[in-house]
Symmetry: C2
Subunit: 476 residues, 2 copies
């Protein structure tokens, strides 16, 4: 797949206009609506229903594989990245994977978002005797809130090991297509739902102006499931009430993911947001590779290796680039969103299960000089018209604050848009100087007159500011 391995002088934009590749994409997209068939892979992943088959490449004499990874209790890990996990599959540069992702907020409305969907049911299964996925988060297994302590909350599908990926390389992940996951409950046939949670980690939490202060509010949205992806509408909302989990622990606030909400304990309010329509932007809030600094790391706090950076531009047609820091890259994806605004203010988006078709391209370290990936040490996002640089309150909080548990807590205390703005500026300046050979003066003027800085999120501990570079500025 030589044209997939971009080297010196490659514009990296060619796949957007490559007819052969678009045909390959079109074929891969079928997997959004039907199984790809093929053969079960070996081991645990095979038990989890992961399959693969050859995907005839449109390039003469070339071949790629297409994997299908359903989301279930055997294919997900909950609330953390870890370089030491056993990978789910190993694939080659150029290969595709259709990956189901499930929102960790499904249990906010069990009827609409869990019931009748075997994959989601298997993930959330938790009764007096059995909790299908015990560890939820990077914390200790004997944490009083539950195993993993909820120090990390996202249901992550993966990890995917990319053959040949080594520290210093860059992993490109192309999002070929996405589709919302329909409700499995026959009562809601043909509909899709998501949950928005105004939570204790939201920007508003300590600044509410109406009573009762300290409340958390869940709003359930219906999302257009016809593939048009054009709107979401609120169905009802409710205030979180203390929920007792199946093992008897009471959760007065939302402090542990996947606690089932007893619908008899809450008071639904259907008289909300009448007539309001939210433009839908399906995307993956959490997407990235395993960091090297610690054995196990919370999925909440984004960093140089990606993770929960919550940029709504990370949807269909977008491409992400991640610095590889551990063998195989160890890619995972989760936190699917139907829509969020820049800032993700209340702590969550419309959290809504989503399936994506991804293609993985490996860029070897030696090929990076002279390309836009040279020196990349943060998640870079590319859309048809933009390159988006991600800055954070701390560029690498694991390095800055040490061991992971404490690091996340320290990071939460030091969140600031001011330092995130500085980081976004530093990275953008370096991007122009290192990959476009501009002087510092040229870079600074160009940034000031043409680059837009926005607020990615203010809720993930390590707050984000992104810089949007329009590709149209570059010399033709």
């Amino acid at each position: 797949m030589s044209d997939h391995i971009c080297g010196t002088g490659c514009s990296h934009f060619s796949h957007l206009n490559d007819a052969d590749l678009q045909a390959e994409f079109a074929e891969a997209r079928h997997s959004l609506r039907t199984s790809i068939g093929g053969e079960k892979v070996a081991g645990k992943a095979g038990l989890g229903g992961v399959t693969h088959r050859p995907l005839p490449s449109k390039k003469q004499g070339e071949n790629v594989s297409h994997y299908y990874i359903p989301a279930n209790d055997k294919t997900i890990h909950w609330g953390y990245f870890s370089k030491s996990m056993e990978p789910l599959i190993k694939l080659d540069s150029g290969d595709y994977a259709t990956i189901e992702t499930v929102t960790h907020h499904s249990n906010d409305d069990i009827e609409r978002m869990v019931k009748g969907d075997p994959g989601v049911e298997s993930i959330f299964h938790w009764d007096a005797k059995h909790k299908a996925v015990d560890r939820r988060g990077a914390g200790p297994m004997d944490h009083p809130l539950g195993a993993g302590g909820g120090l990390g909350v996202h249901v992550c599908t993966g990890p995917v090991f990319v053959n040949g990926a080594e520290p210093g390389d860059v992993l490109e992940v192309r999002i070929v297509d996405t589709m919302q996951r329909p409700s499995g409950n026959p009562d809601y046939r043909g509909k899709t739902f998501g949950s928005n949670v105004a939570s204790n980690w939201g920007f508003q939490f300590n600044n509410l102006i109406t009573e009762p202060k300290g409340r958390e509010v869940i709003t359930i949205y219906e999302v257009d499931a016809k593939g048009e992806q054009s709107w979401a509408k609120a169905v009802y909302n409710y205030r979180w009430t203390p929920q007792t989990d199946p093992w008897g622990k009471v959760h007065p606030i939302i402090d542990y993911p996947g606690v089932p909400v007893d619908k008899h304990s809450i008071t639904p309010n259907y008289d909300i947001l009448k007539g309001y329509e939210i433009p839908v932007r399906p995307h993956f809030g959490m997407i990235g590779v395993a960091p090297v600094e610690a054995e196990i790391v919370s999925s909440i706090v984004p960093s140089y290796s990606g993770g929960n950076f919550d940029n709504w531009r990370m949807g269909k047609g977008a491409t992400a680039f991640f610095p590889v820091v551990v063998p195989g890259a160890m890619f995972s994806v989760g936190d699917p969103h139907a829509s969020q605004g820049d800032a993700e203010l209340c702590g969550t988006a419309i959290e809504c299960s989503l399936t994506g078709v991804f293609q993985f391209i490996l860029h070897k370290k030696a090929d990076l000089p002279g390309t836009k990936l040279f020196g990349l040490d943060y998640p870079l996002l590319e859309t048809e018209s933009e390159l988006i640089v991600h800055g954070f309150s701390s560029a690498n909080y694991l390095k800055e604050f040490g061991d992971s548990d404490d690091a996340a807590a320290e990071m939460f205390k030091k969140s600031s848009l001011d330092s995130a703005m500085t980081d976004a500026f530093n990275k953008t300046r370096r991007f122009f100087m290192d990959t476009r050979n501009l002087s510092e003066d040229e870079a600074i003027s160009l940034i000031s007159v043409s680059v837009d800085f926005g607020i990615t999120q203010v809720v993930d501990g390590n707050w984000g500011v992104h810089a949007i570079i329009k590709k149209s500025i570059f010399p033709k």
Copy 2:
């Protein structure tokens, strides 16, 4: 002009689709390219060349006036707002004014941006005997840097007094059209130029990575002057060298506006940004009404009454709404930009003289309840598809920090995107609750899933975060 005075139930969007009004706009637009003719107004403004004529309204039996305000030493004030100034003109709600604005950075390239343009020459005239506009800024007249101290830098055209405007009302300003000001120098016939200054007040200034640190760099851009408004290209740059003003004061840094740059003292570098094209976004960086808190206020620091809020969306087709706090509103406009990115990182945009056609609409206090203007205490911007709420590090720094000179200095010390984000959130939440009758829970969810927060600027002392509300979310 009853349809111009929006009352309860008015959508305020109607003028965008009003064929009669569009015809009126079309006629007003002629004034961008030719004098409107008409009669000289009385007084100082008449000496400054201000004229007016009736503009036949397309509405039966109605009439409006159209004013033309050229920019020259008699029609501008430099570096400040003041509620106590004598207004340049007095007009009625519904009237139009074509207003020339001139960049205070014109003297960065006298040949391209001053020479041969009588209006600009009259403003910048400063020789051993005569300084045409002495006060530049809100500081003391005996300030060591020069009269006004440069505590405020923008060449402001106005003020315009709106008849009947009283505190509690809202002034709507529609930007019907804009046009770049062509160079007056025959050597550059048909071209337009602007200056971008990486300045001592820029975000980068204390964070330069190449030598010499502490430098200020001016980049001169050529801007498409054909009215297509599609591109700007860098011509050359140079480092600021100490400049001696005509009265003998040496300015080692850019500390006073309008100091003429001796072209023999600088070293132009033409080998910059080859092939880069900046998409042009002509807009007014400084636009607003006089605040009530002080007699004279720096033009640099934006606040609730508008001013230098530097949002590039403030261009053709946009509408601004300002809370009126002094009789007549006392509107001024300046700081014209050909383009800036969100953040205006290095301290300036492409500073480029611009003429605008404006229409002024007065909304009386009694008519505000039930409209989107109810409770407005910040500059609100509207485009065809968006409503944009402006938050600042301090919502009203004049109230927070007292008397104006000290207030601006205090404000500079306390700039933070974190407090600006809080202010933008507070205002957006109140917008939905007060003007759309949503509960706090509805507002917060809607904001989180659909409102985009961006960084307006980090260089004006009172840093800005704006919230972009898509109008498509509202019930049809």
